[in-house]
Protein backbone atom coordinates (compact mmCIF):
# COMPACT_ATOMS: atom_id res chain seq x y z
CA UNK A 1 0.00 0.00 0.00
CA UNK A 2 2.91 2.31 0.74
CA UNK A 3 4.12 1.97 -2.86
CA UNK A 4 0.65 2.81 -4.16
CA UNK A 5 0.53 5.86 -1.91
CA UNK A 6 3.93 6.98 -3.19
CA UNK A 7 2.78 6.60 -6.79
CA UNK A 8 -0.28 8.71 -5.96
CA UNK A 9 1.91 11.38 -4.39
CA UNK A 10 4.07 11.34 -7.50
CA UNK A 11 0.98 11.94 -9.63
CA UNK A 12 0.04 14.96 -7.50
CA UNK A 13 3.39 16.52 -8.29
CA UNK A 14 2.93 16.29 -12.04
CA UNK A 15 3.10 19.63 -13.88
CA UNK A 16 3.99 21.40 -10.64
CA UNK A 17 7.25 22.81 -12.08
CA UNK A 18 8.82 22.15 -8.70
CA UNK A 19 11.95 20.88 -10.42
CA UNK A 20 12.52 24.37 -11.85
CA UNK A 21 12.79 25.80 -8.34
CA UNK A 22 15.08 23.02 -7.18
CA UNK A 23 17.25 23.32 -10.25
CA UNK A 24 17.34 27.12 -10.23
CA UNK A 25 17.89 28.22 -6.62
CA UNK A 26 21.07 26.17 -5.98
CA UNK A 27 22.57 27.88 -9.04
CA UNK A 28 22.77 31.12 -7.06
CA UNK A 29 25.14 29.89 -4.30
CA UNK A 30 27.14 28.13 -6.97
CA UNK A 31 27.71 31.23 -9.06
CA UNK A 32 28.14 33.59 -6.16
CA UNK A 33 30.19 31.15 -4.04
CA UNK A 34 32.52 30.68 -7.01
CA UNK A 35 32.72 34.45 -7.50
CA UNK A 36 33.48 35.00 -3.83
CA UNK A 37 36.18 32.32 -3.97
CA UNK A 38 37.87 34.02 -6.93
CA UNK A 39 37.67 37.39 -5.17
CA UNK A 40 39.43 36.07 -2.06
CA UNK A 41 42.06 33.78 -3.54
CA UNK A 42 44.80 35.34 -1.40
CA UNK A 43 43.02 34.13 1.78
CA UNK A 44 41.47 30.90 0.54
CA UNK A 45 44.38 28.53 0.03
CA UNK A 46 42.85 25.08 0.57
CA UNK A 47 41.51 24.45 -2.94
CA UNK A 48 38.32 22.39 -3.01
CA UNK A 49 37.88 22.76 0.74
CA UNK A 50 38.01 26.55 0.49
CA UNK A 51 35.50 26.53 -2.34
CA UNK A 52 33.27 24.36 -0.17
CA UNK A 53 33.27 26.97 2.60
CA UNK A 54 32.05 29.60 0.14
CA UNK A 55 29.58 27.30 -1.53
CA UNK A 56 27.99 25.83 1.57
CA UNK A 57 27.85 28.83 3.90
CA UNK A 58 24.70 30.53 2.67
CA UNK A 59 23.17 27.51 0.99
CA UNK A 60 23.12 25.37 4.14
CA UNK A 61 22.41 28.20 6.54
CA UNK A 62 19.58 29.93 4.79
CA UNK A 63 18.21 28.12 1.77
CA UNK A 64 18.35 24.34 2.05
CA UNK A 65 15.65 24.34 4.76
CA UNK A 66 13.20 26.64 2.93
CA UNK A 67 13.67 24.62 -0.28
CA UNK A 68 12.68 21.45 1.55
CA UNK A 69 9.81 23.39 3.11
CA UNK A 70 8.51 24.44 -0.31
CA UNK A 71 8.46 20.80 -1.35
CA UNK A 72 6.67 19.72 1.83
CA UNK A 73 4.14 22.53 1.58
CA UNK A 74 3.45 21.56 -1.99
CA UNK A 75 2.77 17.92 -1.25
CA UNK A 76 0.17 18.89 1.36
CA UNK A 77 -1.28 21.68 -0.76
CA UNK A 78 -3.68 19.43 -2.65
CA UNK A 79 -5.19 18.17 0.62
CA UNK A 80 -5.79 21.71 1.85
CA UNK A 81 -7.74 22.62 -1.29
CA UNK A 82 -11.50 22.16 -1.67
CA UNK A 83 -12.75 19.12 0.31
CA UNK A 84 -9.76 16.90 -0.32
CA UNK A 85 -9.10 16.23 3.35
CA UNK A 86 -12.41 14.34 3.47
CA UNK A 87 -11.45 12.34 0.38
CA UNK A 88 -8.01 11.55 1.75
CA UNK A 89 -9.24 10.35 5.13
CA UNK A 90 -11.92 8.12 3.61
CA UNK A 91 -9.46 6.31 1.36
CA UNK A 92 -8.84 2.64 2.24
CA UNK A 93 -5.26 3.34 3.35
CA UNK A 94 -3.77 3.67 6.77
CA UNK A 95 -2.76 7.07 8.11
CA UNK A 96 0.74 5.72 8.61
CA UNK A 97 1.09 4.93 4.90
CA UNK A 98 -0.23 8.34 3.90
CA UNK A 99 2.32 10.13 6.05
CA UNK A 100 5.19 7.78 5.28
CA UNK A 101 4.57 8.06 1.54
CA UNK A 102 4.87 11.83 1.78
CA UNK A 103 7.91 11.49 4.01
CA UNK A 104 9.68 9.13 1.62
CA UNK A 105 8.91 11.48 -1.26
CA UNK A 106 10.48 14.36 0.67
CA UNK A 107 13.49 12.24 1.58
CA UNK A 108 14.00 11.48 -2.08
CA UNK A 109 13.85 15.22 -2.72
CA UNK A 110 16.47 16.04 -0.06
CA UNK A 111 18.91 13.49 -1.48
CA UNK A 112 18.28 14.55 -5.09
CA UNK A 113 18.80 18.19 -4.12
CA UNK A 114 22.14 17.38 -2.48
CA UNK A 115 23.27 15.39 -5.52
CA UNK A 116 22.42 18.35 -7.73
CA UNK A 117 24.35 20.66 -5.40
CA UNK A 118 27.26 18.20 -5.66
CA UNK A 119 27.19 18.35 -9.45
CA UNK A 120 27.12 22.15 -9.33
CA UNK A 121 29.97 22.17 -6.82
CA UNK A 122 32.16 20.08 -9.12
CA UNK A 123 31.24 22.24 -12.11
CA UNK A 124 32.03 25.46 -10.25
CA UNK A 125 35.34 23.99 -9.06
CA UNK A 126 36.28 23.21 -12.63
CA UNK A 127 35.23 26.66 -13.80
CA UNK A 128 37.32 28.43 -11.15
CA UNK A 129 40.26 26.23 -12.17
CA UNK A 130 40.65 23.72 -9.35
CA UNK A 131 42.61 20.63 -10.34
CA UNK A 132 41.18 17.10 -10.31
CA UNK A 133 37.99 16.17 -8.52
CA UNK A 134 36.87 17.20 -5.03
CA UNK A 135 37.98 14.95 -2.16
CA UNK A 136 35.54 12.15 -1.38
CA UNK A 137 35.16 13.64 2.08
CA UNK A 138 33.28 16.63 0.70
CA UNK A 139 30.89 14.40 -1.21
CA UNK A 140 30.39 12.46 2.02
CA UNK A 141 29.56 15.73 3.81
CA UNK A 142 26.99 16.49 1.13
CA UNK A 143 25.20 13.18 1.61
CA UNK A 144 25.50 13.47 5.37
CA UNK A 145 23.80 16.86 5.05
CA UNK A 146 20.86 15.16 3.38
CA UNK A 147 20.41 13.08 6.55
CA UNK A 148 19.96 16.36 8.41
CA UNK A 149 17.65 17.44 5.60
CA UNK A 150 15.47 14.40 6.33
CA UNK A 151 14.77 15.69 9.82
CA UNK A 152 13.83 19.08 8.39
CA UNK A 153 11.57 17.33 5.89
CA UNK A 154 9.81 15.36 8.62
CA UNK A 155 9.26 18.50 10.71
CA UNK A 156 8.09 20.52 7.72
CA UNK A 157 5.64 17.79 6.74
CA UNK A 158 4.08 18.01 10.18
CA UNK A 159 3.91 21.82 10.01
CA UNK A 160 2.54 21.87 6.47
CA UNK A 161 -0.08 19.31 7.45
CA UNK A 162 -1.24 21.36 10.45
CA UNK A 163 -1.05 24.82 8.89
CA UNK A 164 -3.36 25.36 5.96
CA UNK A 165 -1.26 28.09 4.40
CA UNK A 166 1.35 27.33 1.75
CA UNK A 167 3.61 30.20 2.73
CA UNK A 168 3.69 30.11 6.54
CA UNK A 169 5.59 26.80 6.92
CA UNK A 170 8.18 28.10 4.43
CA UNK A 171 8.62 31.22 6.56
CA UNK A 172 9.03 29.03 9.62
CA UNK A 173 11.71 27.02 7.82
CA UNK A 174 13.62 30.19 6.95
CA UNK A 175 13.49 31.46 10.52
CA UNK A 176 14.34 27.98 11.81
CA UNK A 177 17.35 27.77 9.50
CA UNK A 178 18.70 31.16 10.58
CA UNK A 179 18.18 30.11 14.22
CA UNK A 180 19.98 26.86 13.35
CA UNK A 181 22.92 28.84 12.02
CA UNK A 182 23.12 30.76 15.29
CA UNK A 183 22.73 27.63 17.45
CA UNK A 184 25.28 25.78 15.39
CA UNK A 185 27.81 28.58 15.93
CA UNK A 186 27.22 28.24 19.70
CA UNK A 187 27.85 24.49 19.57
CA UNK A 188 24.21 23.56 20.18
CA UNK A 189 23.43 22.36 16.66
CA UNK A 190 22.47 18.85 17.73
CA UNK A 191 19.56 20.18 19.74
CA UNK A 192 17.85 22.03 16.93
CA UNK A 193 16.36 20.11 13.98
CA UNK A 194 17.11 22.85 11.45
CA UNK A 195 20.79 22.91 12.43
CA UNK A 196 21.41 19.25 11.70
CA UNK A 197 21.72 19.77 7.95
CA UNK A 198 24.46 22.36 8.35
CA UNK A 199 26.20 20.19 10.95
CA UNK A 200 26.06 17.28 8.53
CA UNK A 201 27.24 19.36 5.59
CA UNK A 202 30.04 20.82 7.65
CA UNK A 203 28.92 24.17 6.26
CA UNK A 204 31.52 26.93 6.02
CA UNK A 205 34.22 24.67 7.50
CA UNK A 206 37.22 23.25 5.70
CA UNK A 207 37.86 20.51 8.26
CA UNK A 208 35.32 18.06 9.59
CA UNK A 209 34.05 19.43 12.89
CA UNK A 210 31.49 16.73 13.52
CA UNK A 211 33.46 15.11 16.31
CA UNK A 212 30.54 13.09 17.61
CA UNK A 213 29.00 11.06 14.77
CA UNK A 214 27.11 8.89 17.26
CA UNK A 215 25.46 11.99 18.73
CA UNK A 216 24.63 13.20 15.23
CA UNK A 217 23.10 9.82 14.33
CA UNK A 218 21.16 9.72 17.58
CA UNK A 219 19.83 13.26 17.01
CA UNK A 220 18.76 12.34 13.46
CA UNK A 221 17.00 9.15 14.57
CA UNK A 222 15.42 10.79 17.61
CA UNK A 223 13.99 13.77 15.73
CA UNK A 224 12.92 11.61 12.78
CA UNK A 225 10.99 9.20 15.00
CA UNK A 226 9.50 12.07 17.01
CA UNK A 227 8.22 14.06 14.03
CA UNK A 228 6.97 10.98 12.17
CA UNK A 229 5.07 9.83 15.25
CA UNK A 230 3.54 13.27 15.71
CA UNK A 231 2.52 13.33 12.05
CA UNK A 232 0.91 9.87 12.10
CA UNK A 233 -0.82 10.48 15.44
CA UNK A 234 -2.16 13.83 14.23
CA UNK A 235 -3.66 12.14 11.18
CA UNK A 236 -5.10 9.33 13.29
CA UNK A 237 -6.64 11.25 16.14
CA UNK A 238 -7.29 14.82 14.97
CA UNK A 239 -10.53 15.40 13.14
CA UNK A 240 -10.09 16.97 9.71
CA UNK A 241 -11.31 20.44 8.76
CA UNK A 242 -12.14 20.32 5.08
Amino acid sequence: MLTVCMKTEQKKLKHSHLWLVFAGIPLLPTVLGGGNYLNNLEMLKSGWYSLWTQHSLFYASFFYGPLIAIYCSYIWRVEHLNYNWNSLMTMPTSERDIFLAKLLMSLRCTVALQLWVGVLFILSGKIVGLPGLPPGEILFWLLRGSLGGMVTAALQLVLSMMIRSFAVPVAMALLGSVAGFLMSSKGMGMLWPYALMMEGMNANKSTDVLSNPVGFGAAICGFLILFTSIGVCYLKYKDVHA
Partner: protein, 253 residues
Protein backbone atom coordinates in the same frame (compact mmCIF):
# COMPACT_ATOMS: atom_id res chain seq x y z
CA UNK B 1 -13.34 53.45 -2.30
CA UNK B 2 -13.80 53.22 1.47
CA UNK B 3 -16.08 50.23 0.96
CA UNK B 4 -13.46 48.42 -1.08
CA UNK B 5 -10.82 49.22 1.50
CA UNK B 6 -13.07 47.76 4.22
CA UNK B 7 -13.73 44.70 2.07
CA UNK B 8 -10.03 43.95 1.87
CA UNK B 9 -9.75 44.04 5.64
CA UNK B 10 -12.83 41.82 5.96
CA UNK B 11 -11.07 39.25 3.78
CA UNK B 12 -8.10 39.07 6.11
CA UNK B 13 -10.16 38.90 9.31
CA UNK B 14 -9.25 35.99 11.57
CA UNK B 15 -6.55 34.91 9.13
CA UNK B 16 -3.88 36.00 11.62
CA UNK B 17 -1.81 37.56 8.87
CA UNK B 18 -0.17 39.92 11.33
CA UNK B 19 1.45 36.89 12.96
CA UNK B 20 3.85 36.58 9.99
CA UNK B 21 5.44 40.05 10.38
CA UNK B 22 5.22 39.73 14.18
CA UNK B 23 7.21 36.49 14.07
CA UNK B 24 9.79 38.08 11.76
CA UNK B 25 10.09 41.08 14.05
CA UNK B 26 10.57 38.92 17.12
CA UNK B 27 13.15 36.89 15.28
CA UNK B 28 14.99 40.04 14.19
CA UNK B 29 15.09 41.15 17.81
CA UNK B 30 16.47 37.79 18.96
CA UNK B 31 19.04 37.80 16.17
CA UNK B 32 20.25 41.28 17.10
CA UNK B 33 20.35 40.30 20.77
CA UNK B 34 22.58 37.39 19.86
CA UNK B 35 24.74 39.49 17.55
CA UNK B 36 25.32 42.31 20.05
CA UNK B 37 27.13 39.89 22.40
CA UNK B 38 29.75 39.01 19.82
CA UNK B 39 30.18 42.53 18.41
CA UNK B 40 33.51 44.27 18.92
CA UNK B 41 33.01 48.00 18.49
CA UNK B 42 35.72 50.61 18.66
CA UNK B 43 33.73 53.06 20.74
CA UNK B 44 30.36 53.30 22.45
CA UNK B 45 29.30 55.94 19.93
CA UNK B 46 29.46 53.27 17.26
CA UNK B 47 26.69 51.22 18.84
CA UNK B 48 23.79 52.88 17.01
CA UNK B 49 25.62 52.66 13.71
CA UNK B 50 26.30 49.00 14.40
CA UNK B 51 22.60 48.47 15.07
CA UNK B 52 21.51 50.28 11.90
CA UNK B 53 23.99 48.36 9.78
CA UNK B 54 23.04 45.01 11.31
CA UNK B 55 19.36 45.73 10.84
CA UNK B 56 19.97 46.59 7.18
CA UNK B 57 21.64 43.22 6.66
CA UNK B 58 19.00 41.28 8.59
CA UNK B 59 16.27 43.04 6.59
CA UNK B 60 18.02 42.08 3.36
CA UNK B 61 17.69 38.42 4.33
CA UNK B 62 14.29 38.43 6.00
CA UNK B 63 12.11 41.06 4.33
CA UNK B 64 12.12 39.55 0.79
CA UNK B 65 10.98 36.21 2.21
CA UNK B 66 8.49 37.94 4.51
CA UNK B 67 7.08 39.97 1.60
CA UNK B 68 6.60 36.77 -0.37
CA UNK B 69 4.69 35.20 2.55
CA UNK B 70 2.66 38.36 3.14
CA UNK B 71 1.69 38.77 -0.52
CA UNK B 72 0.85 35.09 -0.80
CA UNK B 73 -1.37 35.21 2.31
CA UNK B 74 -3.13 38.39 1.12
CA UNK B 75 -3.88 36.90 -2.28
CA UNK B 76 -4.92 33.52 -0.87
CA UNK B 77 -8.56 34.54 -0.54
CA UNK B 78 -8.95 35.08 -4.27
CA UNK B 79 -6.60 32.33 -5.40
CA UNK B 80 -7.86 29.49 -3.22
CA UNK B 81 -11.49 30.26 -3.86
CA UNK B 82 -10.82 31.14 -7.50
CA UNK B 83 -12.94 34.24 -6.95
CA UNK B 84 -11.08 36.83 -9.03
CA UNK B 85 -13.52 36.44 -11.92
CA UNK B 86 -16.49 36.95 -9.62
CA UNK B 87 -14.85 39.91 -7.90
CA UNK B 88 -14.13 41.62 -11.19
CA UNK B 89 -17.85 41.70 -11.99
CA UNK B 90 -18.44 43.80 -8.88
CA UNK B 91 -15.30 45.79 -8.37
CA UNK B 92 -13.20 47.82 -10.74
CA UNK B 93 -10.07 45.79 -11.52
CA UNK B 94 -7.65 48.66 -11.03
CA UNK B 95 -9.24 49.52 -7.69
CA UNK B 96 -8.96 45.92 -6.54
CA UNK B 97 -5.26 45.96 -7.37
CA UNK B 98 -4.81 49.26 -5.53
CA UNK B 99 -6.57 48.01 -2.43
CA UNK B 100 -4.61 44.78 -2.33
CA UNK B 101 -1.36 46.68 -2.67
CA UNK B 102 -2.42 49.23 -0.08
CA UNK B 103 -3.29 46.48 2.39
CA UNK B 104 0.14 44.90 1.90
CA UNK B 105 1.80 48.31 2.15
CA UNK B 106 -0.04 48.95 5.43
CA UNK B 107 1.39 45.78 6.93
CA UNK B 108 4.85 46.70 5.63
CA UNK B 109 4.57 50.28 6.92
CA UNK B 110 3.60 49.03 10.37
CA UNK B 111 6.47 46.54 10.24
CA UNK B 112 9.05 49.25 9.49
CA UNK B 113 7.56 51.48 12.20
CA UNK B 114 7.71 48.55 14.62
CA UNK B 115 11.36 48.07 13.72
CA UNK B 116 12.01 51.67 14.73
CA UNK B 117 10.30 51.11 18.07
CA UNK B 118 12.25 47.87 18.49
CA UNK B 119 15.51 49.72 17.77
CA UNK B 120 14.73 52.32 20.41
CA UNK B 121 13.90 49.59 22.94
CA UNK B 122 17.00 47.63 21.97
CA UNK B 123 19.24 50.67 22.39
CA UNK B 124 17.75 51.38 25.80
CA UNK B 125 18.10 47.76 26.92
CA UNK B 126 21.77 47.69 26.01
CA UNK B 127 22.51 51.23 27.21
CA UNK B 128 23.66 52.53 23.85
CA UNK B 129 25.24 55.97 24.07
CA UNK B 130 23.59 58.90 22.24
CA UNK B 131 20.82 58.28 19.72
CA UNK B 132 19.94 58.09 16.07
CA UNK B 133 20.44 61.28 14.07
CA UNK B 134 17.78 62.65 11.73
CA UNK B 135 19.91 61.72 8.74
CA UNK B 136 20.19 58.15 9.94
CA UNK B 137 16.45 57.99 10.52
CA UNK B 138 15.66 59.26 7.02
CA UNK B 139 18.22 56.90 5.48
CA UNK B 140 16.78 53.98 7.45
CA UNK B 141 13.28 54.78 6.18
CA UNK B 142 14.57 54.99 2.63
CA UNK B 143 16.54 51.77 2.93
CA UNK B 144 14.02 49.67 4.80
CA UNK B 145 10.74 51.33 3.84
CA UNK B 146 11.17 52.26 0.22
CA UNK B 147 13.04 49.13 -0.87
CA UNK B 148 10.59 46.91 0.99
CA UNK B 149 7.71 48.59 -0.85
CA UNK B 150 9.40 47.78 -4.15
CA UNK B 151 9.92 44.18 -3.10
CA UNK B 152 6.31 43.93 -1.92
CA UNK B 153 5.00 45.32 -5.22
CA UNK B 154 6.92 42.67 -7.13
CA UNK B 155 5.75 39.88 -4.84
CA UNK B 156 2.16 41.08 -4.99
CA UNK B 157 2.19 40.95 -8.77
CA UNK B 158 3.73 37.49 -8.77
CA UNK B 159 1.23 36.21 -6.22
CA UNK B 160 -1.74 37.67 -8.08
CA UNK B 161 -0.64 36.08 -11.33
CA UNK B 162 0.30 32.67 -9.95
CA UNK B 163 -2.37 30.18 -9.04
CA UNK B 164 0.49 28.04 -7.80
CA UNK B 165 2.35 29.93 -5.06
CA UNK B 166 5.65 28.10 -5.64
CA UNK B 167 6.91 30.74 -8.06
CA UNK B 168 6.42 33.80 -5.80
CA UNK B 169 7.95 32.00 -2.83
CA UNK B 170 10.90 30.79 -4.87
CA UNK B 171 11.43 34.33 -6.17
CA UNK B 172 11.27 35.64 -2.60
CA UNK B 173 13.91 33.16 -1.48
CA UNK B 174 16.10 33.88 -4.49
CA UNK B 175 15.68 37.59 -3.69
CA UNK B 176 16.95 37.04 -0.15
CA UNK B 177 19.91 35.20 -1.59
CA UNK B 178 20.74 37.86 -4.19
CA UNK B 179 20.29 40.68 -1.71
CA UNK B 180 22.60 38.96 0.75
CA UNK B 181 25.30 38.44 -1.85
CA UNK B 182 25.09 42.05 -2.96
CA UNK B 183 26.59 42.93 0.44
CA UNK B 184 29.68 40.82 -0.24
CA UNK B 185 30.32 41.05 -3.97
CA UNK B 186 30.35 44.38 -5.81
CA UNK B 187 28.84 44.09 -9.29
CA UNK B 188 27.23 46.70 -11.56
CA UNK B 189 24.52 44.10 -12.20
CA UNK B 190 23.05 44.72 -8.73
CA UNK B 191 21.50 48.01 -9.93
CA UNK B 192 19.01 45.92 -11.90
CA UNK B 193 18.06 43.80 -8.88
CA UNK B 194 15.50 45.28 -6.51
CA UNK B 195 16.66 43.20 -3.48
CA UNK B 196 20.18 44.57 -3.82
CA UNK B 197 18.92 48.09 -3.06
CA UNK B 198 19.04 47.29 0.67
CA UNK B 199 22.79 47.35 0.16
CA UNK B 200 22.96 50.04 -2.54
CA UNK B 201 21.06 52.41 -0.27
CA UNK B 202 23.40 51.61 2.61
CA UNK B 203 24.48 54.67 4.57
CA UNK B 204 26.95 53.18 7.02
CA UNK B 205 30.38 51.77 6.27
CA UNK B 206 32.76 49.76 8.42
CA UNK B 207 36.46 49.20 8.89
CA UNK B 208 37.60 45.92 10.33
CA UNK B 209 40.99 45.77 11.96
CA UNK B 210 42.16 42.20 11.41
CA UNK B 211 44.73 42.19 14.22
CA UNK B 212 42.52 43.57 17.01
CA UNK B 213 39.25 42.23 15.49
CA UNK B 214 37.68 45.61 16.29
CA UNK B 215 35.22 47.22 13.89
CA UNK B 216 34.75 50.95 13.53
CA UNK B 217 31.71 52.43 11.80
CA UNK B 218 31.33 55.61 9.82
CA UNK B 219 28.66 57.31 7.75
CA UNK B 220 28.85 57.11 3.97
CA UNK B 221 26.96 59.33 1.54
CA UNK B 222 23.78 57.85 0.12
CA UNK B 223 24.07 56.56 -3.44
CA UNK B 224 21.93 59.19 -5.16
CA UNK B 225 21.71 57.29 -8.43
CA UNK B 226 20.40 54.25 -6.62
CA UNK B 227 17.81 56.41 -4.87
CA UNK B 228 16.75 58.13 -8.10
CA UNK B 229 16.53 54.77 -9.88
CA UNK B 230 14.37 53.34 -7.12
CA UNK B 231 12.16 56.42 -6.94
CA UNK B 232 11.58 56.20 -10.68
CA UNK B 233 11.15 52.43 -10.73
CA UNK B 234 8.51 52.32 -7.99
CA UNK B 235 5.77 54.39 -9.73
CA UNK B 236 6.71 52.86 -13.08
CA UNK B 237 6.38 49.37 -11.60
CA UNK B 238 3.08 50.30 -10.00
CA UNK B 239 1.59 51.69 -13.23
CA UNK B 240 2.87 48.76 -15.27
CA UNK B 241 1.64 46.21 -12.75
CA UNK B 242 -1.74 47.86 -12.50
CA UNK B 243 -2.18 47.92 -16.28
CA UNK B 244 -1.08 44.32 -16.48
CA UNK B 245 -3.61 43.35 -13.84
CA UNK B 246 -6.39 45.28 -15.56
CA UNK B 247 -5.77 43.77 -18.97
CA UNK B 248 -4.66 40.30 -17.99
CA UNK B 249 -6.42 39.55 -14.73
CA UNK B 250 -5.94 35.83 -14.17
CA UNK B 251 -9.19 33.89 -14.53
CA UNK B 252 -11.00 36.86 -16.05
CA UNK B 253 -10.64 35.89 -19.70
Amino acid sequence: MLGEWKTEWMKVRRRKIALVPAAFLLFTFLWLSWAVRSSHMESEEDSWMWLLMCLGLVNTILIPAMSAMLASRLCDAELKGNTLKLLCTMEEKGRLFDMKLLTGASYMGVYVAAELVMMAAFGRMHNFAGGITLRQLVCFLLQSGLVSMGVLLLQMLLSLFSANQILPLAVGLAGSFLGLFSWFIRLPFWRAVVWAYYNLLGYIGQNWDESSRIVSYYEVPLDRWALITLLAALPAGYILGRQLFIHRTPGCG
